[in-house]
Amino acid sequence: MPIEYYTFLACIIFGIGVIGVLTRRNAIIIFMCIELMLNAVNLLLVAFSKMHYAKAVASGQQDILTAASEGQLFVFFIMVVAAVEVSVGLAIIVMMYRNTHNVDINFLNRLKN
């Protein structure tokens, strides 16, 4: 299975997330599309980690595990940041809903009022 397939898949999912952010107006769905983009990037990082593993095996490198686990650790930290982002972002959305009784972003185009 060539690595191109994984880059295609990740780019397609990322593009779907971008289209969702640009076309939808519900704030929560926009937030979910951001999660979708984060997952596409995670998938690409894991695929490249596997690619480095394959290259390390092919070139007879000594510390194969070190070469392959960098990308997966990066994905771990991205998941941490995503969880933090969701908790704060949903709190902000709840606060906005309490003020305007709506989560449509067209009503939120000014910071004042």
């Binding site: 299975m1 060539p2 690595i3 397939y5 880059t7 295609f8 898949l9 780019c11 990322f14 593009g15 779907i16 997330g17 971008v18 289209i19 952010v21 640009l22 076309t23 939808r24 519900n26 929560i28 769905i29 937030f31 979910m32 599309c33 999660e35 979708l36 997952n39 998938l43 690409l44 695929a47 980690s49 596997k50 690619m51 593993y53 394959a54 290259k55 194969i64 595990l65 070190t66 392959a68 686990s69 997966q72 650790l73 994905v75 771990f76 930290f77 998941m79 941490v80 995503a82 969880a83 933090v84 969701v86 908790s87 704060v88 709190a91 959305i93 709840v94 606060m95 989560v103 449509d104």
Partner: protein, 166 residues
């Protein structure tokens, strides 16, 4: 066609289809449910790529915790009805076309230089198991790990402060 390729195509089709359903459904609750299916498909990809720990963390954290949080907020704000009248068709089409253009550019930009075969005749081994990743995490990446704990603490305090009724 080997078994791995069949699983790859099945998971890819499920992930892309459910991702499209996420952005096209009118009802936000359906979007959340389709997003959970997408996350499960991506977890299947992780298992296929020998990232077992990340697959389990993806299911627990994303499909378990974060999506429940989304669903909780949706139900709390009573948004589970079909809302969102789309009044400007031009904005919708321009957004879709711009996103599609970005997708095409990305597909060409991220393409690797040479063809590299992954998981053909590779055992994969224990790269993605807890033992290897945990050892790396607590030796080489100890400082970022501790900083992320402080980040969690600050996010917790921030969420409480923002969500508090004044």
């Amino acid at each position: 066609m080997t078994t791995q390729q069949i699983i790859f195509w099945f998971l890819s089709v499920v992930a892309v289809f459910c991702a499209i359903m996420v952005i096209t459904r009118k009802n936000p609750v359906f979007s959340v449910l389709y997003l959970i299916i997408t996350f499960f498909a991506i977890s299947g990809h992780y298992i296929l790529l020998n990232a077992q720990f990340l697959a389990i963390v993806n299911v627990i954290v994303y499909a378990g915790a974060i999506m429940v949080l989304f669903l909780f907020v949706l139900m709390l704000m009573n948004l589970n009805k079909e809302s969102e009248p789309q009044k400007n068709k031009y904005m919708l089409w321009s957004g879709a076309i711009a996103g599609g253009m970005l997708m095409l550019v990305l597909i060409d930009a991220v393409r690797p230089e040479q063809k590299v075969q992954i998981y053909d005749g590779l055992s994969g081994g224990d790269v993605g198991l807890v033992k290897n990743l945990g050892t790396r995490l607590f030796t080489d990446y100890l400082v970022p790990f501790e900083i992320s704990s402080i980040l969690f603490l600050s996010a917790m305090i921030g969420a409480v402060v923002i969500g508090k009724k004044d």
